[in-house]
């Protein structure tokens, strides 16, 4: 029987679990934490990543506002009232001259009483960097006068023009960023606390707590927000200090924002409280607060954070609108909305259109938050 197959046994070691063994990459993937997976998913969403980067730059800038802005918040240049933007040039008559601005010649037109500025092509004013300029109290507590960029000696550097008191619009926008961006953050934190507490209680206990909170939410959601905000902020006493007004406004913004979050928390809790691990926790003697905070909330924290990110822009817009109408923040606090009050006068805007420029960062921020929040929401469910 020569056609019989030769019996063959390999001498290599045999691992019956070889098929199930994971390569290092697979292992990394399967054992990744939820947050890590969220990060991976978020990274694939290009628009969200760019928006996140923009937001990071914006938020980072508020840490060093004083250093970035060429002038101090309130420094006035009385001989440069309503000066037009001076664009930064690099080439003077075809030759490279480094970043510089042309000087401005000022003339009051006696027949129209309009301030007319002409660009003086002869006056090349090179910008200085890391230079000494207006003095400021840095928020960490020390005094300094170093700025990223400032005008040459005796020259001016109004990148985005000046306003009716001769204050540099660019510097003021930078200072406004600090207030406008934090209003949304503080507001969302307050709203987060309210939403989780109320929604958590409603979802976990059910019954009359749930009923009460649901009816409250329905009523709050059926009210037009802006008139209500107006009414509430008109109620803030005029005698309050600027800081108190600031926190008052954030509280008002949060008061109308929590219902959305509370609803999300409630509907999730209603389903989750029936799970076995929840029963187990309560059998072991955990109190409701611990069950909600330690066992239930972490299940959908990522979702909550994502949806909270999406409601920050509406808060920023609301603050801008309120301040614009004169019922929100008031000078000396400077936010983008406060800056836009200058643009309320149509005649002024027609003559000095650069007063509308504080609107640009508002739109950029809101768009960035929207895209970032969208990406975050998609990423929040990495198991999909």
């Amino acid at each position: 029987m020569s056609d019989k197959l030769e019996h063959f046994v390999t001498s290599e070691p045999f691992d019956p679990y070889e098929v199930e063994a994971l390569t290092p990459e697979q292992e990394r993937f399967y054992l990744a934490s939820q947050w890590r997976m969220m990060w991976w998913r978020l990274k694939r969403h290009k628009l969200a990543v760019y928006s996140g980067a923009i937001l990071f730059v914006l938020y980072f800038s508020i840490l060093i506002t004083e250093f970035l802005s060429p002038y101090a918040l309130t420094s006035r240049h009385t001989d440069h009232i309503f000066a037009p933007p001076q664009s930064v040039n690099f080439f003077h008559e075809g030759e490279f001259a480094g970043p510089f601005v042309y000087g401005l010649n000022y003339k009051l037109n006696m027949s129209t009483l309009k301030r007319e500025y002409t660009i003086d092509k002869g006056a090349v004013q090179p910008l200085r960097f890391f230079c000494r300029g207006d003095k400021y109290d840095f928020w960490l507590g020390f005094e300094s006068n170093v700025h990223l960029a400032c005008a040459s000696d005796g020259g001016t550097f109004f990148w985005l023009g000046t306003d009716r008191l001769g204050r540099d619009v660019w510097s003021r926008i930078l200072y406004g960023t600090r207030i406008s961006l934090t209003v949304g953050l503080v507001g969302i934190i307050l709203s987060f606390i309210l939403g989780i507490t109320i929604g958590g209680a409603a979802g976990y206990f059910g019954g009359w707590v749930d009923n009460l909170s649901q009816r409250t939410i329905e009523i709050l959601r059926s009210m037009p927000e802006l008139p209500l905000w107006l009414g509430l902020s008109a109620a803030l006493p005029v005698t309050w200090s600027p800081v108190a007004i600031y926190f008052g406004i954030t509280l008002i913004l949060a008061l109308l924002d929590w219902p959305g979050l509370a609803r999300a928390v409630r509907s999730k809790l209603l389903a989750l409280r029936e799970e076995d691990f929840c029963t187990a926790a309560s059998l072991m003697g955990a109190r409701p607060r611990r069950i909600i905070a330690r066992h239930l909330l972490p299940n959908f924290m990522s979702h909550l954070i994502a949806s909270a990110t999406l409601s920050i822009p509406s808060m920023i817009l609301a603050e801008t609108a309120l301040s614009f109408l004169g019922l929100g923040l008031r000078p000396p606090i400077t936010s983008w909305g406060v800056l836009l009050v200058e643009a309320q006068n149509l005649e002024a805007v027609a003559l000095y259109p650069w007063l509308l420029l504080p609107a640009v960062p508002v739109i950029i921020t809101v768009l960035a938050f929207n895209f970032f929040g969208d990406g975050l929401r998609d990423a929040a469910d990495p198991y999909k």
Partner: protein
């Protein structure tokens, strides 16, 4: 259906009661009342406030009674059509509000109509042509519409109109019609002036509506019954109108609940900028002057607009969708 209607009306009335209480608390929040500031103003002018007059005003406005009694008097008056007196204008509130309220109604109604007319075809197009250039372009425009606050849009529009046409676009009609009776020319003028505010206020709502309609319709289009219908040879257009569109229409109407507060909010602030004779500017002025009866009535009115609007949308929904009226409550 009658049971549904009754329950819905009951809920609406309850909501209004709570809203009125809330409004009353808000207008009572500022420290002091109009009377104290009035006396202070008199004194700053060197006049001594006549104690008799103050006493009279106090009684007239019931400022000497406890809070809850003031509330009851206020609400009681409103139910009988008496909204109190505006201290700032020295007129009954109903006279200050009258026309203005009608204007607000016209404006907000036009905006809602505009949003539906524009959002519907665009939303359907975006969903049926997903990931086409048209879809991307419209989505981008929509995002900008959502991100630009409407008061900024109003400012920019005014700026552009001033710059390129040399006209001012404020007001609700040309000044020469202001005191005339309603005529065709006047109606035309109003229509002309409505265009800008309607676009400005409606943009954000339209953008949101398009996004939601697109998402809803896409959900439906990916369902199996659509494939089945296609497989048995139903033409695309007929299929779309017959099944998925009807399903996607439901949230479209239910959404008026989200839409109305947004529209009313927007019209308040845009009216201030465009100087429209609606509730917005007067509400703002009243709030600044702490003219509480006037401000309170306005707050109540704008809330009433949304609450009644939602009631109407619920009714529409019930007519459209038997599941809702049979279950007696929203199905969600």
């Amino acid at each position: 259906m009658i049971e549904f209607l009754a329950r819905r009306i009951l809920v609406m009335i309850l909501t209004l009661v709570v809203v009125s209480a809330l409004v009353f608390v808000i207008i009572q929040l500022p420290p002091g009342d109009y009377l104290t500031s009035y006396i202070a103003e008199l004194q700053s002018q060197g006049e001594n406030a006549d104690p008799q007059k103050i006493e009279f005003l106090k009684q007239e406005y019931h400022l000497d009674k406890p809070m809850w009694q003031q509330y009851l008097i206020w609400v009681g008056g409103i139910v009988q059509g008496d909204f109190g007196r505006s201290i700032e204008h020295n007129l009954p509130v109903s006279e200050v509000i009258g026309d203005v309220f009608v204007n607000s109604l016209i404006l907000n109604f036009s905006i809602v109509i505009f949003i539906y007319i524009v959002a519907f075809p665009i939303g359907v197009y975006s969903a049926t042509h997903q990931y086409s250039w048209g879809d991307y372009g419209l989505t981008l425009v929509g995002f900008f519409g959502l991100a630009t606050p409407n008061f900024l849009l109003a400012l920019i529009m005014m700026f552009l109109a001033k710059k390129f046409f040399g006209t001012s676009i404020g007001g609700l009609m040309d000044p020469e019609f202001e005191n005339e009776a309603m005529s065709f020319a006047k109606a035309l003028s109003i229509l002309e002036h409505l265009v800008i505010p309607v676009i400005v206020i409606g943009t954000a709502g339209t953008a949101g509506m398009i996004r939601r309609l697109r998402a809803n319709l896409l959900d439906e289009l990916h369902k199996q019954y659509v494939i089945t219908a296609r497989a048995k040879g139903l033409p695309r257009g007929r299929l779309l109108v017959k099944y998925p569109l009807r399903m996607a229409l439901n949230p479209f109407i239910a959404d008026i609940g989200n839409l109305l507060p947004q529209v009313v909010s927007g019209s308040v602030i845009v009216s201030v900028i465009l100087d429209l004779p609606t509730t917005g500017p007067i509400l703002l002025e009243a709030l600044r002057a702490q003219d509480m009866f006037l401000a309170g009535s306005f707050l109540l009115f704008v809330s009433l607009l949304t609450v009644v609007g939602m009631f109407v949308s619920d009714l529409l929904l019930a007519v459209l969708d038997p599941r809702i009226r049979l279950e007696g409550g929203t199905s969600r």
